[in-house]
């Protein structure tokens, strides 16, 4: 089994890969470490056959993908346990789960799953991979990819501490809310969106975290079956 650091990297690479190509710079930012550290660690991952480096980018090998899903499974199970059984609030469990995830053996994972009544998703709504390394496909695309004039619906908010989700909720934007994109500033600027009678400017970084249905595609994961 790879070390805790390598596991963190695999997790970060998998998550970054959900939005497209992965560059080492993104990992440095996501993990809060310097670029040389990333390069060194990526070298270690590559010697173990967990990743490939196609033209400067980073991609998981089949083995690497399995290892990444394994760590994500442990992370999300740990979060579920912290919220459901220990009663921690879901905006504080991410960091705690990062500590716990490295200590869960397959035996304990299985016991946790039974105890938690086979949860499908973590408290933030992300699917939990199965022990065989399968994961439910996540639908939707980030709001920032939508063009001016697009009519979309919010699917979920990618937000580990829940702060953005609850702030947007107080403004009337939750999963299921219809959003019209009125204007997209050029050069990767902010978006102007219309929700009901109100208009909001959303920075590109915020719009990246809001996942919406692609225009014209109906939402397949309805309210009530998310968990």
């Amino acid at each position: 089994m790879p070390s805790a650091t390598l596991e963190e990297y695999l997790e970060a690479i998998y998550k970054a890969g959900e939005h497209g190509e992965v560059r080492p710079g993104q990992l440095a930012e996501a993990l809060g470490v310097s670029a040389p550290t990333v390069t060194a660690t990526l070298g270690r991952l590559q010697t173990r056959g967990l990743i490939e480096r196609p033209s400067g980018g980073v991609a998981l090998t089949t083995t690497g993908r399995q290892a990444a899903l394994d760590i994500i499974r442990r992370h999300r199970l740990a979060e579920r346990f912290l919220v459901d059984a220990l009663g921690l609030s879901w905006d504080e469990v991410h960091d705690e789960a990062c500590l716990l995830e490295h200590a869960l053996s397959p035996r304990v994972q299985e016991a946790l799953e039974t105890f938690l009544e086979n949860p499908e998703a973590c408290p933030h709504g992300h699917p939990i991979p199965t022990a065989d390394g399968e994961i439910a496909e996540q639908v939707g695309a980030p709001l920032c990819n939508a063009g001016s004039g697009a009519q979309v619906e919010i699917v979920r908010v990618e937000d580990e501490d829940g702060e953005l989700l609850s702030y947007l909720a107080s403004l009337g934007m939750f999963p299921g809310t219809a959003v019209r994109v009125c204007d997209v500033a050029p050069f990767k600027g902010p978006l102007l969106v219309e929700v009901g009678d109100s208009r909001y400017a959303l920075g590109r970084d915020v719009a990246e975290k809001i996942v919406v249905t692609e225009p014209g595609v109906p939402r397949s994961r309805g309210k009530g079956n998310r968990r």
């Binding site: 919220v83 009901g196 959303l202 920075g203 970084d205």
Partner: protein, 669 residues
């Protein structure tokens, strides 16, 4: 549980006096502060919780025969979240326990603003809603049926136009009556949800007491929605039940209690809105949309920013200078003789009298001579821009650039304002959403040369050396600012929340409203800064008149002469500049005249060309003026203030020392 029912945690805020205590809540930009100003006069005190910068104003006011207490909560979209303004508003509500909460609604956006009212009602407070901006809504073809709103929402509703004082006295009457009424029946959020919540309400009913004076239902919802203060105050067994029920709600509805209840509240607010808002079809002017495109499309938006900024500074430069000149003339003609006669009768005409004149003549004049013409005018112009909705477009346009400084679009307002005067800019920086952004923006504001500092550069380098050296000095100042911006982003830990900003349509500004607001902000400045300026002037006067100022130049010699190559006496004027940046130059010219003995008002007798450049650089970068230090210190505490002061001196000395060695090599003329 150790705490008794009535006991509330002691906070730094005092519940105001008065028979009835009214709290004002509302979304940003619905006219809450205007209403607060209309209700109260002088005697407003503001305070903030440790670690937060959102201020809460508290005042006592007279309403007919009665004395009422008024609490102005920070503007927020909700009171449930973790955003600072929401936490502060919630904490103030729970700790100060107002008898009634007036929630301001925007008729053109009734449903969204009603959400906050529903949240406050769910905390068990008596609520009165004020449908404000009624005049503006009518122009937009929107009317709210207040009687029907009262019926449907189950709370008294009053129509107001706070900017003109319309409906304010009847609002107060209604609020006073409502304060005596029993707490209204709580709202319910669907049978399934209520069935899940019910056991927790029962549980609270069986507890010996419910904390913070809450009703059992409010306390139950508070625990389920994870309102920090209520969860903290709940006994262990209740918390455990809460966890179980949160889980049950999440598995039944597929989302957390917080999101589910927020969704229900928005749904309910939307339903109420549909029943009470009457829309009359209006010919929709094309103008606002065109203005939006014009102001946010980079190829037209950027030139427009430059144009707007240039006209503001032009206006300040000419109108401000004219006002300052007239004010000083008036002061010399009327106030100065009176004050000197007064001082003369008390202290004779010795050293003491001259020191007192420094403080009470020159000091007050200094405070008024920047305050009225520059700061008040600037507040007014900025308020006018804000009221039109142009600042929205500006934030949208500049969001991406601001990201490079760890900020986002909203921070552009204080940074632009800073080129006029740091004081209003620092106040504006206090409205940014996270502590990190406020700290970065405030610090950058201090390093933007304000109009007084620009005037010194113009008056020294520009006047005596010409435009090329002036550009050189300004260029160096810009480079220092950029370096500071990149450094701060790395030095100050944390994350910015990103831009989430409500956009208001363009509208015609209300001059009366803007003037009132500008005056209120200015009044705060006057009360904070004037005493400090007077004391500072007295100290300085004392040093000057006793001759100790010259003695003090001794210890400064190694730095001023050795490092910067300036005469020691010029170093002293730099310190004096802390009182008022342009005072430094005035003093320097006066000293030059005194030393060289001819009244040509030239610096040449005292300073070489290089010296003038070095002097202008150091004066611009080092030690922000005492008024802005006072405001910065009030907002951020003494540690960051000392750090900023120290950094500014260190950077100024470094830049000055380099300039003193490099400028002669350039050959300026």
């Amino acid at each position: 549980m150790s705490r008794s029912c009535d006991e509330r945690p002691a906070g730094p805020l005092e519940r105001p006096g008065g028979e009835v205590v009214i709290a004002l809540a509302g979304n940003p930009n619905v006219g809450k502060s205007t209403l607060f100003n209309a209700l109260t006069g002088l005697g407003v005190s503001t305070a903030h919780y440790p670690g937060t910068t959102r201020e809460i104003s508290v005042a006592t006011a007279r309403a007919g025969e009665r004395l009422i207490g008024v609490i102005d909560l920070p503007g927020s979209y909700g009171i449930g979240g973790t955003a600072e303004e929401e936490r502060v508003a919630r904490r103030a509500l729970l700790e100060l326990a107002p008898d009634v909460v007036v929630v301001l609604l925007d008729p053109t956006n009734l449903a969204r603003t009603l959400f906050l009212a529903l949240e406050v009602m769910d905390l068990g407070f008596r609520v009165v809603v004020a449908v404000n901006l009624a005049d503006e809504a009518r122009r937009a073809g929107v009317r709210v049926d207040c009687a029907r709103l009262s019926d449907v929402a189950g709370v008294p509703a009053v129509e107001t136009v706070a900017t003109q004082g319309v409906g304010v006295s009847s609002l107060v009457e209604v609020a006073i009556t409502a304060a005596a009424a029993p707490t209204p029946e709580p709202r319910t959020y669907g049978p399934d949800f209520e069935a899940l919540v019910e056991p927790l309400v029962r549980r609270w009913e069986s507890e010996a007491c419910v904390p913070l004076g809450l009703t059992p239902r409010a306390a139950a919802l508070g625990v389920l929605e994870e309102r920090h203060e209520i969860v903290e105050a709940a006994p262990e067994s209740v918390r455990r039940d809460g966890v179980r029920i949160r889980r049950a709600v999440a598995s039944h509805f597929g989302e957390s209690v917080r999101v589910h209840v927020a969704r229900e509240r928005h749904g309910l607010a939307g339903l109420i809105g549909e029943q009470v808002v009457v829309r009359t079809p209006r010919r929709r002017g094309l103008l606002p949309h065109d203005l939006w495109a014009l102001t946010t499309w980079p190829w037209t938006g950027v030139p427009l920013v430059v144009l707007v900024a240039a006209s503001i500074f032009g206006f300040l430069f000419f109108v401000g200078e004219f006002l300052a000149g007239s004010l000083s003339a008036l002061w010399e003609r009327w106030a100065a003789p009176l004050i000197s006669a007064g001082v003369g009768s008390v202290a004779g005409d010795g050293v003491l009298a001259r020191v007192l004149l420094w403080g009470f003549d020159a000091g007050i004049e200094a405070s008024l001579a920047i305050g009225l013409p520059y700061i008040l005018t600037f507040y007014f112009l900025l308020g006018l821009l804000e009221d039109t909705g142009y600042l929205n477009s500006l934030a949208f346009l500049t969001d991406r650039v601001m990201h490079r400084f760890g900020l986002h679009g909203r921070a552009v307002v204080p940074l632009v304002a800073a080129a006029g005067c740091s004081v209003p800019a620092l106040v504006a920086a206090g409205d940014l959403p996270t502590r990190r952004e406020r700290l970065i923006a405030s610090t950058l504001v201090v390093f933007v040369p304000c109009s007084a500092r620009t005037a010194v550069i113009m008056g020294s380098v520009g006047h005596f050396l010409g435009w090329r050296p002036t550009l050189l000095v300004l260029g160096v100042v810009v480079i220092v600012w950029l370096a500071m911006a990149f450094a701060l982003q790395r030095l100050i830990p944390g994350d910015s929340r990103g831009l989430v900003m409500e956009m208001f349509p363009f509208r015609r500004p209300s001059v009366r409203g803007v003037a009132g607001k500008a005056w209120t902000q200015f009044r705060e400045f006057l009360f904070v800064a004037t005493p400090i300026v007077i004391v500072g002037s007295l100290v300085l006067g004392g040093l000057y008149e006793t001759g100790w100022l010259m003695a003090l130049s001794g210890p400064l010699e190694p730095v001023v002469e050795g490092l910067l190559g300036l005469p020691a006496i010029a170093g002293l004027t730099l310190i004096v500049g802390m009182l008022r940046k342009e005072l430094s130059l005035q003093l320097l010219v006066a000293l030059a005249v005194a030393t060289t003995g001819f009244a040509g008002a030239s610096l040449a007798g005292l300073l070489s060309e290089t010296d003038i450049v070095v002097y202008a650089l150091v004066n611009t970068i080092a030690l922000p003026c005492i008024s802005s230090v006072a405001v910065y210190w009030r907002r951020h505490g003494w540690m960051p203030t000392l750090a900023v002061l120290g950094a500014s001196v260190a950077i100024a000395l470094t830049v000055g020392a380099i300039a003193a060695r490099v400028v002669p090599l350039l050959g300026l003329q």
